[in-house]
Subunit: 195 residues, 2 copies
DNA sequence: TCACATATCTAAACGATGTTAAGATGTACT
DNA sequence: AGTACATCTTAACATCGTTTAGATATGTGA
């Protein structure tokens, strides 16, 4: 079976781990976490069901890898959003909204980022990726609040906004078009009334 | 097979729907949503695996019933918490904290309340129960903010606090003992700086 | 009291899932 | 060229939720 040297560099399939991550995200985008299955994913990737286990151990390992890449993508979008927003207060808002946009631009990746029941939150790569994205928000907050505000309080605000942004997506009584207004209100509340 | 008339009132098993809900919550409390299985639940309840389907249709229906009861319990605890807190600003905080306490006092029920992927959020009973609990927070907020604040803004604040409270429990970078401080900070921010 | 209708549960089977062990196959390096 | 190794396949397992048909107990009305 000949290989396209551009996309398949080495070994049998080529870069199977990457292919599984990308096709897995595509599968998640189509049918959500319910539709995710190692068997259909293996079929669509052109390998047998046992192949993924060699690279990721088990399904949880693969989903953790997808979530890890998701946070990398989020960090990238947070940087983009922040670079085109002034003052820092607006940049904080833009960084929070980046997650909402990601839910439509990269629904597959976004669907597993906070699914602690599906992934392994203690995985080293995942932790590094997630904390890095979170750190970007903390950094920007230090520039958005008065210098009298301590680091501990800044961290508290960052976690509150992070939680609010994510929590909005899991509530049954909140419509999609309300979310932006709510996060906007939360950012304003925290920035105008620190501590 | 004789029946204890006090606990088993009618038919073969007695009140099987209730037994499934309670034992199901117990199962969830022990091993989380991963450990939940209709088969082990049926075994522990003393019926065969097909029995639950007659009452709840499928596993999602049963989990929805558990989540519905969870919100009923939460509403009860919110009432208790609010009744022993003054002024209304403190009551708002107490109502938010009620969910955190529920995660330790009723871990099984709490584990499925916001799992939109496991339950059916459009179920009539579930909606009624969830909206009722949420309405309690909204009510208390109308007493906690200045009368100049409109209903729409109050609803926004309620949803923000609701989302923050829930979102905190799904973030990998937040420890259990931080959560109370974060929600306390959020309540203060929203109440001192409405809109 | 007894037959009948009905709610409730059982028995059995189905397709699908993730995981594992053993073996085959292709790649890379000496 | 030959060997070591990473990679993937084959095959089998236990477990899962769901469905269908049938057995059983309950409640009702004659």
């Amino acid at each position: 079976m000949p290989q396209d040297p551009q996309t398949k560099a080495t070994y049998h399939h080529g870069n199977l781990p990457d292919a599984l991550i990308e096709e897995g995200a595509r599968l998640l985008a189509e049918g959500g976490t319910d539709a995710f299955s190692l068997r259909t994913l293996a079929k669509r990737t052109g390998v047998t069901v046992a192949a993924p286990s060699h690279h990721f151990g088990n399904a949880r390992g693969l989903l953790t890898a997808i979530a890890t890449r998701a946070f990398e993508k989020l960090a990238l979008q947070m940087d983009v959003a922040a670079s085109s927003a002034e003052p820092p207060q607006d940049a904080v808002l833009a960084m929070c909204l980046a997650y909402f946009e990601m839910r439509t631009t990269e629904p597959g990746y976004a669907s597993v980022m906070f699914r602690l029941d599906l992934i392994n939150p203690n995985d080293a790569h995942f932790r590094k990726s997630a904390y890095h994205a979170f750190g970007l928000l903390e950094e920007m907050l230090t520039r958005a609040v008065p210098i009298t505000v301590g680091a501990a309080e800044i961290s508290t605000i960052a976690k509150a906004l992070w939680a609010t942004t994510q929590g909005l997506t899991t509530l049954p009584m909140i419509e999609q078009n309300e979310m932006e207004q709510i996060i906007r209100s939360s950012v304003a509340a925290h920035l105008n009334q620190p501590q």
